[in-house]
Symmetry: C2
């Protein structure tokens, strides 16, 4: 008999973004003349920078001749890229990460989604609420049933408290998706200390680190002392450089990081992830790795800064206009995301519908968890012109 | 406590190809002046064809301008590629597969490795012996403990027999890796009938279908009546068009295919795989999908034929020279692989060492399973000149 993974029965039926897309399409069909400004999905709109484009044309040319052809690359990624990352994202900021602790993947979503493969299905997982749905869904798929919720709400300044019950794994994402908020350094230090004291694995998603502008704010978990003993960091070029369609990201798994099998034998998470990746993955595209390498040149860096600046500027405008309209809103400073509270106790999907009536799409906060109820997420990824149009429409609320 | 997936403890310590690489490197260090002809690994050496190169330059240019920029693509793959595949690989051959039954991935290794995610960990899995190690290792990682071995040996003409105990899942790969042999149509029909009668899922790896030259030989499992009810097919552009470094493949999951959860509710494998991919994957690179699309143009098709012809010609030469040297050898006709038996009852690693002494690398058959003991796999992927050099060296055996 073809027997299925029972865990899939425990998933919510629809993936949040698919449901939003269906609603938006239905609205479009009902009003073929109306235009819509998309402030919902987390996709970028600006083209890839010149440095990466040139690198890709060169890489394509490499593949056109036998003498410069590249076949299978290392599953962990080419050394040229791992070295550029270790230097540019870590060593230059005084952080000790070696190139062989870096694993190049086809994007943070894959790496974040697959990482729990190497962990016990009996683990208890602590997740912030609201949260990026992929953390929760992939753990449900992996058979995990025990979750601890860490509310991030206006009342606690969007700072998740340490849990009463000790989890095995905790996910943190800062700058946060969906709230757009930061976690102050001293709170992050408290989390790292807590994980060290209790043997908790900290999975740190810093896909939005390129948006940090507040001086002194944390960009990597490895800035915190002792994090090498407890943390894994996920990074992406999607939001840093517009690589959403190119597919490249990376994961840092320090060699200090160990866990235990149920027979109490120790195991290195670095070794297990390497084994997972060499067996179930075959490396990211050579062309895309060359493009990512180019982001570490002076031209590439400047282009990333200009691109993220523009998205932050949009998000900032959105937040200010929401505040002017008398709404409560956070984010939009060190993040492309703005987290806006619905007026008058309205729930998320009602607020979504109300904004859709105005021709603005949003992502209902309740799709990110119970504590997201009553909020929507807006993003700064559209063009400045469209963002200004959305702001005009928001005034009519 | 950081608790690890116990299944990883049950894996063999070293991945076969990594062990070969270590041995070859050690030999190189001990003999810095000697050259080596690589007849071991399954990587291609010929450059990407002009049609795909031009398509990639155009796709890179698309990403350089906001008006033609492509961000996130559909997780299942772009319609332009799924439609080209449905037409070129199926409809033209009279096979009924619709574009929305096709899932574009970043290569067959990932899809084959990840597919068991949606199946029950309690499943019994039937594998040929010898076998591509990824099938076995990924099922061990997924917690499966019961395996049925289907020997493919000279005595049965490399045709796996139907098992006595009924499995839940069976993997078949033809043209076969590592033996290079085909499964006659009537045997494949028997397997499909068996799977239908017993509710067995047939995971069919046809990564090497582009190497089929024997008239009338099966290229897709869906040529067999009833296969839509029981089979999933994995395809790759790696060996068809040299995409090993580009990363693209696809998986066909018919909508007819259903399984059961343990509460006996029915589930669609298509729906579950879609859910898996939308949650844990974010689509293959836009540039690479455009390259794959170009393979279905007349120029692209001709280039794929020329490329695979050249690898078959090499493999064929290798097989003939092995036969001339008095060795038993199969494959090398509808496949880039040749499966060579060691002389005088020598075991695989001893034969590997003997060939390495001659400056030829091979892959020890025992690394593919018990029934591979006493064989090595040679490949036609090197250049013609290097293949001829290997043949000269083989004469000295």
């Amino acid at each position: 008999m073809i027997r299925l993974n029972d865990s899939y029965e425990r998933l919510d039926e629809t993936y949040l973004f698919a449901k939003v897309a269906r609603k938006v399409n239905a609205w479009r069909l009902s009003r073929p003349d109306a235009d819509i400004v998309r402030m919902d999905i987390g996709d970028v709109t600006r083209p890839i920078c010149g440095a990466a484009i040139e690198a890709m044309h060169r890489a394509v040319a490499d593949l056109a001749a036998a003498s410069t052809f590249h076949g299978y690359g290392p599953e962990q990624g080419y050394a040229f890229l791992r070295e550029a990352i270790a230097a540019g994202d870590y060593a230059e900021r005084g952080i000790d990460i070696s190139p062989d602790e870096i694993f190049i993947g086809d994007g943070a979503k894959s790496d974040i989604g697959n990482f729990p493969d190497i962990l016990s299905a009996a683990d208890t997982v602590a997740l912030t609420d609201p949260v990026y749905p992929v953390y929760a869904d992939t753990n449900v798929m992996g058979g995990r049933k025990r979750f601890i919720s860490l509310p991030m709400i206006p009342e606690n300044g969007f700072v998740p408290c340490l849990p009463e019950e000790t989890p095995d794994v905790v996910y943190l994402c800062f700058p946060n998706n969906p709230t757009g908020t930061l976690l102050p350094r001293e709170n992050l230090r408290r989390w790292v200390d807590y994980c060290r004291a209790n043997g908790v694995l900290l999975l740190f998603d810093s896909a939005y680190e390129a948006y940090v502008r507040t001086p002194g704010a944390v960009r990597s978990i490895f800035e915190i002392e002792g994090a090498r003993e407890v943390a894994v960091e996920f990074r992406s070029f999607s939001k840093t450089a517009g690589f959403t369609g190119l597919r490249c990201g990376y994961t840092v798994v320090p060699k200090d990081l160990t866990g235990r099998f149920s027979d109490s034998r120790k195991g290195s998470l670095h070794d297990l992830w390497l084994r997972r990746q060499t067996t179930k993955f075959n490396g990211a595209s050579y062309i895309v790795q060359r493009a990512a390498e180019a982001l570490y040149t002076p031209e590439g860096r400047e282009a990333c800064r200009v691109q993220t600046d523009s998205y932050i500027a949009n998000a900032s405008l959105l937040r200010e206009s929401a505040l002017e309209a008398g709404l409560y809103a956070v984010g939009g400073q060190d993040s492309p995301y703005v987290w806006v509270k619905a007026p008058g106790g309205m729930d998320s999907w009602s607020f979504f519908d109300r904004l859709l009536e105005l021709g603005i799409t949003s992502t209902p906060g309740s799709g990110f968890g119970k504590s997201g109820e009553g909020f929507v997420r807006l993003t700064g990824f559209n063009s400045e012109a469209n963002t200004r149009e959305a702001i005009e429409r928001l005034r009519r609320i």
